[in-house]
């Protein structure tokens, strides 16, 4: 099944029926909840009991926002799909919702936000859904406005699905150009199903805490996600997790034993006193390959 991003623009793809799945499908809810929790972990907010003002970019039906509310924070959610926001209203999310296009810039005052998360949304910026869209300008507007509205030392954690390496690089490049420091943390890099990429960005002077945490599954941990029947094509088999086995050392081909070598060897053996056939025009002649 092709990814949503190539099927239709987000406000079209996430129409009423699709948006419904985000309330009714427990599988989708569970996956989104887990990704949100991991994003919050990477956000590394200080544990001082003081609620923060956060952004949830591409908040959709409010699933990820709920994890923010559970921790006592206030948040502002952005989404381009009216249907998804209607679902969020039904679920009575605590955060304030905005119907907006992140590629147009976030439209917030400088330095007012304490942190931002985004779950499975940023990759939509890479597609030109309208002829007037230039993905690069949209990425620039998004990351630029995000950098400006974050307070000094604040972090943004953006979980995204990159279709290919080029897309992933494009996203990271525009983030860095906006002034962010940071990088990508990849959980379960060896599993195409469970692999999740989190762009962890910090705003302002680097501190002791700006070294990137290690992605899950990078120390050859078994990926538990492979056992779940949570793939998009409904495949119910257990996924086999293949560790990268070091390849057996290839035997080197005997290319280097030409005619000169042969003549030298024969001379050597003659000196030692062996009975060696005489050198003729047939010695070391290139022969037809038999195998």
């Amino acid at each position: 099944m092709p990814r949503p991003e190539v099927q239709a623009p987000p406000d079209v793809f996430y129409n009423g029926a699709e948006a419904r799945k985000y309330t009714t499908s427990s599988r989708i809810i569970e996956i989104q909840a887990r990704i949100s929790e991991r994003a919050l972990e990477l956000l590394a907010l200080p544990n001082d009991g003081v609620p923060k003002l956060l952004l949830d970019i591409g908040c959709g039906s409010g699933l990820s926002g709920e994890t923010l509310t559970e921790l006592g924070h206030h948040w502002i959610g952005y989404d381009i799909s009216k249907s998804m926001l209607d679902v969020a209203l039904e679920r009575e999310t605590e955060g304030d919702l905005l119907l907006a296009d992140m590629g147009q810039g976030l439209g917030l005052r400088p330095g007012v936000i304490d942190g931002a998360i985004s779950i499975s949304a940023v990759q939509w910026l890479c597609n030109a859904d309208k002829s007037s869209h230039d993905p690069r300008l949209r990425l620039k507007a998004f990351f630029g406005s995000l950098y400006r509205c974050l307070a000094r030392g604040a972090r943004a954690v953006l979980q995204f699905y990159a279709d290919n390496v080029k897309q992933s690089e494009m996203i990271v490049t525009y983030a860095m150009r906006a002034g962010f420091a940071g990088g990508v943390v990849v959980d379960w890099p060896h599993s195409s199903k469970a692999k999740k990429s989190y762009l962890v960005l910090t705003c302002g002077a680097p501190s002791l805490h700006t070294s990137l945490p290690m992605g899950k599954g990078e120390d050859d941990e078994m990926c538990s996600d492979d056992d779940e029947s949570n793939d998009e094509d409904g495949d119910r088999t257990v996924g086999i997790y293949e560790r990268n086995r070091p390849k057996k050392r290839q035997k080197t081909k005997k290319n280097g034993k030409g005619k000169d070598w042969l003549l030298r060897k024969k001379e050597q053996l003659r000196r030692r006193g062996h009975d060696v056939p005489a050198d003729t025009k047939y010695t070391g002649r290139k022969r037809k390959t038999y195998f």
Binding site: L98, Q104, G107, K130
Partner: protein, 131 residues
Amino acid sequence: MRLLTHNMLASNVRGVTTGYPLKLEATKWCTKEVELNADFIRGVLPKIDWRALVAATRALDLPELLPEEQPPEEEIFAEGAADVEGSAIRRIHHALLEIHIQEGSLVCPESSRCFPIDKGIPNMMLHEDEV
């Protein structure tokens, strides 16, 4: 939409230099009680644009809620300030977090561009020629 969010929003229209603050026009709004967390109010207060907040409360016809001038720090940070009925910190909490705008619009001060608010959600989508 709460006034805390309104205080942060600016107009993104191309060519606009002062898209802040957005003028609030509310046709329908309500209040919903929220537990006071004094630390949050104290932390967020430096980020609040006081003039814009007061203007928003005036637009809702609540002239008595907040004073014209931002209350001095001692009043906000005083021990037990949160327990006093009608204290500054409580009023600020009420203004920022307990008022919900349901229908109305936000108007850009420079371009007069109108952003409608429907079911509490402002529509901040720009048209193609505004980007």
